[in-house]
């Protein structure tokens, strides 16, 4: 199942890793460096799923999810939060913002693929 995924993370290493995890699975991967960048990239694409970090400059993951959900046509796009945070209050904030799932870094590439296939498939 080939999916188009937008990955938003301020760490280049993470973006590289996500790309490396998803490209072999035949995914199309778009990347962005923070929430604002993510929204701009999102403008030109129709992703099947979005992966986002929480701690980012300019616009963090919560703000980004909020902004995506505010777009009528993006309300159903699954958004996975990919972060090192595991505090319950963080998860709860992300969920309130409209996140679909939560993945804790470091991640296993094959599981990330599966998770995406699961939420977007």
């Amino acid at each position: 199942m080939s999916l188009t995924v937008l990955a938003v993370d301020d760490s280049r290493t993470m973006r590289d890793m996500i790309r490396m995890a998803l490209l072999p699975a035949g995914f199309t991967v778009h990347v962005a460096e923070d929430g604002i960048d993510g929204l701009e990239v999102l403008d030109g694409i129709e992703p099947d799923a979005i992966i986002t970090d929480i701690n980012m400059p300019r616009m963090d993951g919560f703000g980004f999810i909020d902004a995506v959900r505010a777009q009528e046509r993006r309300r159903g796009v699954p958004i996975l939060v990919l972060t090192t945070e595991s505090a319950p209050e963080m998860k709860s904030r992300a969920r309130q913002a409209g996140a679909t799932g939560w993945i804790v870094k470091p991640f296993d590439p094959t599981k990330l693929v599966k998770a995406l296939q699961m939420v977007a498939g």
Binding site: W102, L112, K114, V119
Partner: protein, 731 residues
Amino acid sequence: MTDHNDPMAEIKASFFIECEELLESLQDGLQEMDEGSEDPETINVVFRAVHSIKGGAGAFGLEELVRFAHRYETVLDEVRAHRLDADSEAHKLFFAAADHLSDLVRASRDDLPMPVAESDRLLTSLEALLGDLPDEEVRPEDFEPLGVTLSLDLPDLSDMEAADGTGETDHDAPAEAAGDGWIIRFKPEAELFDTGNEPQMLIRNLCALGEATVTCDLSDLPSLDRLAPETPYLCWTISLSTTSDEGELREVFEFVDGLCELSIRRAGAAPLEAAGQARTLEIAPPPATPAAVPAPEAAPPQSAPALTDAAPPPVEDGADTPARKSKETGAKSVVRVDLERIERLVNLVGELVINQAMLSQSLGEAGLSPHSDAMNGLEEFQRLTRDIQDSVMMIRAQPVKSLFQRMSRIVRESSAAVRKDVRLVTEGESTEVDKTVIERLADPLTHMIRNSVDHGLESPDSRRAAGKPPQGTVRLTAAHRSGRVVIEVSDDGGGIDRKKVHQVAISKGLVPPDLPLSDNEIDNLLFLPGFSTASQVSSLSGRGVGMDVVKTSIQSLGGRISIQSERGRGTTFSISLPLTLAVLDGMVVNVAGETLVLPLNVVVETLSLGPDDVQMLRPGAHVVRVRGGFVPLYDLGVMLGYRPARDTHQGAIVLLISLDDGNRAALVIDAIQDQRQVVIKGLDDSFYRAPGIAAATILGDGQIALILDPADIIAAEGPLRGAELALTQGV
């Protein structure tokens, strides 16, 4: 793994580069915090830097780095949340932790042993800051970098895919029909669909935990004419036999908590709640394919609006593909290039410059009209060559910021070693310098900074006694000045004790006792090999490798170093460097039949000598009159040993050059040949280092010419005596 084709190794390498950038912003942020920044973004930047290092480190299994970064980050998070008020002592600790983090990054990169004991020491101090906070707010130990590689709160569907042999699972595979029975009732609310969730997925995930029977309750479903498209009408009851506990079942619904009606209870005597026109689907865990699994699609009205929105439109791989591709490369297009490739390009451009010079020369000699096509073309060629060269040099140019940041660590460490309170102020961090210059500046600069902290600044007590603030300041600045880069290290210490320096130099036999020296000359004694005035040899600056080594390193970069010092007020060391080590705007001159190149930027003026312009102070020492003042005159041919001293300089050409200390000197040459860019070819170590000879170059006709450093030649000539100096002052 050092396999070059290993993409993971590549990402790891890029991770370490990113770490350097993150460490840089960490330093910057801490600096701002320490300077009292109230901007919440400052602490955010600091936090994110450590956080991102931790994240990447986790991906590569760099446990010690993760461990330290995590606990450091935890403390920073308390500051971020305003639960911890960091004072300047705390800031010191943060700096030390940042330094240590950078050590850990480098040790991880170079596979060196981890300084674990130092980590522990710092962590203990860091966590002591949290002393008064309630325990539950700080959980430094609960982060497991490598244990569970993926804790997907959406439960794993791996069980379902185990059939094809690819599935792996974090939890035990469901025991065959074993475990407890559970009854789960799940009724989504409209908001559930706004979070990208859908019942199908949740039910499928639940089913993956064991053996399930799913029942869909259609009783609320109205007739088609009364159907509200955005209202969910369906309710599912899942009867599940699983080894998972209630917590794991609830985890499946973690992200839809509050977005659905959910009840989970043990299957007991109580039968399923009556389900009107229930449809029952048999779910067998392993072989289920997503399409075959649950019921939602069977109930279009409920999920239609949300899911239609949600459903990804068919992916057309046609028209929009190029646009996607371009986005995929990221917003900023940055290319990482191996330095070797750039070096090669720089060398080629050097060859191009030489080639162009040769071409100009032969076309000039061919006597072509300046308006001929060939000459016009040549002019264009020259312009392009220069542009290419500038552009190539720009590739190698880097801000001195990273270098300066390293120095702030040196200040912290050295001031702690000698128990002085020192503040480093930096200016001009964005000044760009050739990368090779930056690299080779690190050692001399380190030495100079240590020197300032150790010898330049007084002890806090002496400072107080002198009416100064006990905290000393070391200032590190960079700026572009007339085609060169000037880097200054200054302190607000006691200044150079010239009497003492002079005495030491005399006692060590470095200068004859009877030679009167100007202040500037005494200051320059510090650069003599083996000179040291510290009454005690400190562990910091040591002895032996003194300022002479610094001077030599700077000279090898084509630079010069000078001192200005004022008693009681402090000392400034200025390093003046060429922007690049590759090319030079030069003046090609003839002296005694030799062709030499002088850096154009030191030449202030050219004069032709008249009969009365030169006056002799004593045999071998002349001055030249320049608009009412006098400038010491040096005959290049004599200084370089090309010819004996002459009685008259009449008719000779004189280059008025500016020296770093603000003085001027006049150099006698025979003729000016040309002004042009020359490619600097370093003289390797097999050549004896002659004072004043900086490098060599190849001229247009293929001839090799030496590039001179006029200030160095004049310094080698020895100082003018007091009276002579007095005469030349004010010019």
